[in-house]
């Protein structure tokens, strides 16, 4: 009949006597051949080998210089500063970002407008302009006072003492980060099904608890990938503070190659550190995302460790 030959790309098997089926059931299963995949893999391996070979044998990379400076004291201090700026920028930026996101989502028009205005302004002003502004704040206001608005002043400090270069850098990075963080958090919150809040309200769960226990944990699923993007981008973005002569990782390598002229080796020092830190953050991201994926609609794949353990325990079938 036509129907059989119409789509019979596999074997047409006569199982009427059950003999044919028995014979097939006894056969071992092997994966479909994928010649294209093999070819592509071989090609990639050759490219990779060639690249590594070049890295090792080309004297232009100056690996001895690299080794000399990779964990050198001033580089380590600069690395510390980079990490510090990233940590403060992220922590303060996302805390303020949460507040702004909640303002934007509040039903009341004044907080919503102020939140909107904040995001508008701080996404508009280039970070470098903002940093220069905070750094030169002392030029605009040489003393900062705290007191009753329009009334008597209680404390007054020289601006330079309160907002040094480090303070200006943290302030600038955090305020800038907060605008982006606010939008990331807001997008996460509005992606949570409205029924969740409705159910919580119907059960009389207090507003703050609705947010911390039900909405934010679910929002995290969509917040986290974007947040780690921002975090990693900030890690490298901190190099912008070199405009204020702050010695972060990149600035310090510049100082050193300015002295000894070994540009390639020192740029590699910074690059490798950034690669390592980004790698660590990516691993952290993997596990943090898993933590918040519980109860989600996708089943969690095993972690590398679980996969290894499964492979070692000998059940070859479990590893596909």
């Amino acid at each position: 009949m036509t129907s059989a030959s119409f789509h019979a790309t596999g074997d047409v098997v006569d199982t009427s006597g059950r003999r044919g089926a028995h014979e097939l059931l006894a056969l071992r299963r092997v994966p479909a051949p994928r010649p294209g995949r093999w070819l592509a893999s071989a090609f990639l391996l050759v490219l990779l080998a060639q690249f590594l070979h070049g890295l090792v044998t080309n004297p232009g990379w100056e690996w001895p210089v690299f080794r000399e400076f990779f964990v050198e004291g001033s580089i380590m201090r600069a690395l510390g500063l980079t990490l510090e700026l990233t940590a403060y920028g992220t922590a303060l930026g996302f805390s303020l970002g949460l507040v702004i996101a909640l303002m934007r989502l509040s039903g009341s028009w004044l907080p919503a407008s102020v939140g909107w205005l904040y995001v508008w302004v701080f996404r508009s002003v280039p970070l470098i302009v903002q940093l220069l502004f905070w750094f030169n704040l002392a030029y605009l206001y040489d003393r900062l006072s705290f007191g009753v608005p329009f009334g008597p002043e209680l404390v007054s400090v020289p601006t330079m003492r309160l907002v040094g270069p480090m303070g200006a850098a943290v302030l600038g990075l955090a305020l800038h980060q907060a605008a982006y963080a606010a939008e990331i958090i807001r997008s996460g919150i509005i992606s949570v099904d409205r029924g969740q809040v409705l159910a919580a309200a119907a059960l009389g769960i207090p507003r703050r608890r609705q947010l911390s226990r039900i909405v934010l944990p679910q929002a995290m699923r969509s917040i986290l990938p974007n947040a780690f993007n921002e975090l990693i981008s900030l890690l490298k973005g901190t190099s912008i503070v070199s405009v204020m002569a702050l010695g972060d990782l990149f600035y310090q390598t510049q100082v050193i190659y300015g002295r000894n002229g070994r540009v390639v080796a020192l740029v590699m020092v910074a690059t490798i550190w950034y690669v390592i830190l980004t790698g660590l953050l990516s691993v952290l991201q993997y596990y943090v995302e898993r933590r918040f994926a519980r109860g989600g609609s996708r089943a969690l794949p095993p972690t590398p460790r679980q996969r290894l353990r499964a492979a070692l325990s000998g059940t070859g079938k479990a590893a596909r």
Partner: protein
């Protein structure tokens, strides 16, 4: 006669230009089961949500066990209650949604335990045994540690019922609790609801399960176009409806 469990007086509601409720009056006595039926868009969900102030009435009053819901008298005004007071009122009224709305990030047990802990401030060591007992009652003791998405629709709805019961409410509201379920799962949810009715819980149920209405309802209320058209005991309303509108609707769904 003692205080009704629910008293709805001349409730009106419109969304923009569309008038959804046009003066609804309804009384539900303690221990009674009221089944609310009517065509789509009749305003059944809106009315049900008004009973626990998830929707605000434009005009009219809702009283639960004699207590004015959502407002208090302040001199010449009816002043809306603060959110905290509204939340407190809601803890006395259980609500079961058509699409369950279980908290996706919490386990089944935590779903049931959450409101007694955070809305009523009861200690964990008192709440968790209660939560397990309720799960047992809806036949899901073995699913306590599962997440909602790992359950079937019928199981999820039974958890949602247990969650509503955890506050020990004086009144339970159901908005089409079986409409999102595959036919073979409807029975298990209705069974739980029937057992609740048998224990004398006051319930208002929006449903088109006429078997349930016939078996457990004390009164059936037919709504259309934002009004109560007709109400009465199930035998009378379902067999010999007085209004043409009711007859037409029943012919369509029976």
């Amino acid at each position: 006669m003692n205080t009704p469990m629910v008293e709805i007086v001349d409730v009106h509601k419109s969304y923009g230009a569309t008038s959804v409720l046009k003066g609804v009056d309804l009384v539900v006595n303690p221990g009674e089961v009221t089944v609310l039926i009517g065509p789509s868009g009749a305003g059944k969900s809106t009315l049900l949500r008004m009973i626990n102030h998830l929707e605000k009435a434009d005009r009219g009053l809702v009283l639960v066990a004699g207590e004015l819901i959502g407002y208090r008298r302040a001199g010449k005004h009816l002043r809306e209650l603060r959110e905290r007071e509204v939340l407190r009122q809601r803890t006395g009224i259980g609500f079961v949604f058509q699409d369950f709305n279980l908290f996706a990030n919490l386990t089944v047990l935590d779903n049931v335990a959450e409101a007694p802990r955070s809305a009523q401030g009861r200690p964990a060591k008192e709440v968790y045994p209660l939560a397990r007992e309720l799960l047992e009652r809806v036949g899901l003791a073995d699913k306590a540690d599962a997440h909602p998405r790992q359950l079937s629709g019928g199981q999820q709805q039974r958890v949602a019922i247990a969650r509503a019961l955890a506050l020990e409410p004086k009144l339970l509201l159901f908005d089409e609790p079986t409409s999102a379920l595959d036919p073979e799962l409807v029975g298990e949810v209705l069974d739980v609801m029937k057992s609740l009715a048998a224990t004398g819980t006051t319930m208002i149920v929006v449903t088109h399960e006429m078997g349930f209405a016939r078996e457990v309802a004390d009164q059936v209320v037919f709504m259309a176009d934002g009004r109560v058209v007709e109400q009465g005991p199930p035998q009378q309303l379902l067999r010999t409806p007085a209004h043409e509108r009711t007859r037409a609707f029943l012919n369509k769904i029976l």
